[in-house]
């Protein structure tokens, strides 16, 4: 089942994306952010936190970067100052971090040691951290040797079934994640508290509270990973774990996810800008580092184009999704990611009462499959037109399941009949999985059996969306990405280059900027 799409247009879209990303790439390489510095420190082993007067834990990595920022020396890179202090004081990285957190040490006041010695110390720490990450990747590979892998890179198997848990308590989430895995889920996403994307630090320790989910913390990652590993062994099937590399701590979440062997991360090049009003530069710089981390760890990224269709009309704005997918693909390639790890996102969000709407959804889903043949496309369920009628919603989701399996999507986020009512109850998830198991099983090979009528409604719609995407990309090429975002090219949202949250955390690299973790990532990725 393939659509006849204009190959020249597809190639033009890709070459425009390359031009657009080249300009942005220059900006990225000249800058770093507080979040990238903290990520480097975390990979180098700074994972502690200290209790503040209000009883909350504040990470050591933040304490260090805050101090360097205040003393106006961050531009050389946090790793440099950490290693410099370690050499002079003959203390471990964590000991130095603890002294900084307790305000007993100012890193910028320590006499500068020989540059080569400082860099050697830092590189040794970075190498140890990166080795640990590479080991986690190997651990996953080993598990996949004796466990069934629900993912097939050639898409002969139905899409992976992805569900969310969002009880707001990591321990309750474990109960629900295991239940979901038994009912057929292949991927578990632990929803974060809605406030977390705008926190400029990663909370510490296990958490039992939050709004609409609980916090992403290293300890919570560990708790869920352990539970899913146990459940995977029991079921003989590898259950993947997802979290969110988005918001102000995008690169740190990526680092922690790599260390704790998460398998998927929501990691979009533009999402934070458009939907969380995070500064453009901050997001673009952060996503590059985050995706290098994903590339090294073989974490699948999931991009967020589905969101465009919840704010803009889904029938009219398919081209925004496709244009953004070309950009997301390009930015991921720039970060050394392989296409087979790019869960480019989209959604079935058209008005269900639109005449022949199901045909148009099939057209878009198949078009996306044909244009990105290797990508494990992330297909999101209806949300916008779910209004509380769980019975209609269940049927609507069933059609979504059918469209997904027949067009060979890669990652299928299950719709819940209770969407728009509450975060899923255990029973809601069970119902949704049962329906999906039925349809994915019963229509497993449907896509191989059907042929689209040449010049029929489906084919024409996909050609129209592709053509409009090319037009949009041409506009973006003409005015540049920054202005395109300012002029509402995506999701009808306008953002400015220096506006938004987190801009203060962006800085230009010093001539002697040093980041041994990023260097080690580059070396590993190029070696590959």
């Amino acid at each position: 089942m393939k659509l006849r799409l204009n190959k020249t247009q597809i190639a033009q879209c890709r070459s425009i994306a390359k031009v657009v990303s080249r300009d942005v790439g220059k900006m990225i390489s000249q800058h770093s952010t507080v979040a990238i510095e903290r990520s480097a420190l975390r990979v180098m082993g700074i994972c502690g936190a200290h209790k503040k007067a209000d009883g909350q834990f504040y990470p050591h990595a933040n304490a260090i970067v805050d101090q360097l920022e205040k003393d106006n020396v961050l531009a050389r890179g946090a790793s440099f100052w950490l290693a410099n202090a370690m050499l002079q004081l003959e203390k471990s990285a964590e000991d130095v971090a603890a002294l900084v957190a307790e305000d007993k040490l100012r890193l910028s006041e320590i006499p500068l040691q020989k540059k080569a010695a400082v860099e050697k110390t830092a590189r040794a720490l970075a190498k140890a951290g990166v080795t640990k990450i590479v080991e986690q990747k190997k651990n996953r590979k080993n598990l996949l040797k004796h466990l069934d892998d629900p993912h097939d890179p050639s898409f002969k198997k139905p899409p992976m079934k992805y569900v969310i848990v969002a009880s707001g308590n990591i321990f309750e989430d474990v109960v629900q994640a295991r239940a979901a895995a038994q009912a057929g889920a292949d991927v578990i996403a632990v929803i974060r508290s809605t406030a977390q994307s705008l926190l400029d630090y990663v909370p510490h320790g296990s958490t039992t509270e939050g709004f609409g989910g609980t916090y992403a913390t290293q300890e919570n990652f560990r708790i869920m990973r352990r539970a899913l590993d146990e459940e995977s062994e029991k079921l003989g099937r590898y259950i993947r774990l997802t979290n969110y590399s988005s918001g102000l701590c995008m690169p740190e979440i990526a680092s922690l996810a790599a260390i704790e062997r998460l398998d998927f991360l929501l990691c979009d090049s533009l999402y934070g800008i458009l939907f969380r009003d995070i500064n453009m530069k901050r997001t673009l710089i952060d996503q590059h580092f985050s995706r290098m981390m994903c590339a090294l760890s073989e974490i699948f990224i999931n991009t967020g184009e589905d969101n465009y269709l919840t704010t803009a009309d889904a029938v009219e704005n398919g081209h925004q999704v496709l244009a953004s997918q070309f950009l997301n693909e390009r930015f991921a390639l720039d970060a050394h990611m392989k296409e087979s790890f790019m869960g480019l996102g989209h959604a079935m969000e058209m008005n269900p009462w639109h005449p022949n709407g199901i045909l148009l959804e099939i057209a878009r889903a198949q078009m996306t499959r044909d244009i990105f043949p290797k990508a494990p496309l992330k297909y999101m369920p209806p949300t916008r037109h779910m209004e509380g009628d769980i019975f209609f919603g269940h049927v609507y989701d069933a059609i979504f399941n059918l469209v997904s399996v027949m067009t060979k999507q890669g990652i299928h986020l299950l719709g819940m009949p209770t969407e728009a009512i509450h975060t899923p109850l255990l029973g809601d998830r069970y119902m949704a999985l049962k329906s999906c198991n039925y349809i994915f099983g019963g229509a497993a090979d449907l896509g191989d059996e059907l042929i689209f009528r040449p010049n029929g409604k489906i084919e024409k719609w996909s050609q129209k969306v592709l053509k409009e995407s090319l037009q949009l990309l041409k506009k973006i090429e003409r005015i540049g990405l920054y202005r395109a975002i300012e002029e509402k090219c995506f999701a009808e949202v306008s953002r400015s280059l220096t506006g938004g949250k987190g801009f203060k955390g962006v800085f230009e690299k010093h001539a002697e900027y040093f980041n041994p973790v990023q260097d080690a990532l580059e070396v590993e990725l190029v070696k590959r």
Partner: protein
């Protein structure tokens, strides 16, 4: 037949057809007043005859008679999933039900603009935000964005309305200060996340803040969200609340009517 008791729509006049009884209203399943309903829930025990009986017993305690557990499945280890049917032995007196409703007659785009022009004689100003930690803007955007929702233009499209959408995660105090700065007539708060009743607490906090600064009567306070209603908003101290299915013109109709009411009271 009285106004509280009448034959259902289209019923042939036959002695076997029972009337709708508003004094004792019950669900209609397959016949008038049979009270039949379906129930679905999960129990944290494995399926077993005992689990099935426990499910039936729960339904009897809820006030169902003629209970049938029509399906029991293993949802996962230690969990069973039930579908039950029963006839409810409760009824309600529909004639005694009262509901607090938004006081407005819904009007169209042109009519609203015209009313503002002739009765208020200046542009009206509406500011909105999703407050607190809540990051959802879909509802807010549906009300504000030019395009609107379901073919109903958003507030930004109204020539006689100056609309400002502050987006998500706006602290209550910032919303109030922006409203003062803009000299707004109405403040719209969107709330989607409901965990631990944070939507209610956010709204109450907003009103406490407004009171504290003496701004309570300066604005028309409106809330909106899938789990919000007019009574709940009034309970939180706001003037009106809108739930699922609300269109931008509904909100605009209310704001105009309320502004006119307030102007007339001043006279």
């Amino acid at each position: 037949m009285s106004k509280d008791s009448f034959l259902p729509y289209g019923a042939p006049n036959h002695s076997s057809v029972k009337p709708v009884d508003l004094k004792n209203l019950k669900p209609y399943g397959d016949a008038m007043n049979d009270g039949r309903m379906q129930v679905n829930f999960t129990l944290p025990v494995e399926p077993s005859p005992e689990a099935q009986e426990a499910a039936a017993e729960l339904m009897r305690k809820m006030g169902f008679v003629d209970v049938k557990i029509v399906d029991m499945q293993k949802a996962s280890e230690g969990f069973s999933f039930f579908v039950g049917y029963g006839a409810i032995n409760h009824s309600v007196d529909f004639t005694k039900i009262t509901v607090l409703k938004v006081e407005t007659v819904f009007k169209g785009f042109d009519e609203i603009n015209e009313l503002i022009r002739t009765k208020i004689k200046r542009k009206i100003r509406i500011i909105g935000a999703t407050t607190g930690f809540d990051a959802h803007t879909v509802g807010l955007d549906a009300m504000f964005n030019m395009k609107g929702y379901k073919g109903d233009y958003g507030l930004e499209r109204y020539p006689m309305i100056e609309a400002k959408n502050m987006g998500a995660q706006v602290p209550n105090i910032e919303l109030l200060e922006a409203a003062i700065k803009m000299n707004a007539d109405a403040i719209m708060v969107s709330q989607v996340v409901t965990e631990k009743d944070c939507h209610i607490n956010n709204l109450k906090d907003l009103m406490v803040l407004a009171d504290k600064h003496g701004w309570r009567d300066r604005f028309i306070f409106i809330s909106g969200g899938p789990r919000l209603s007019h009574p709940l908003s009034v309970e939180c101290g706001l003037d009106a609340g809108f739930g699922t299915g609300t269109l931008p013109s509904h909100v605009a109709s209310y704001v105009v009517d309320e502004l006119i009411r307030r102007l007339e009271r001043k006279k």
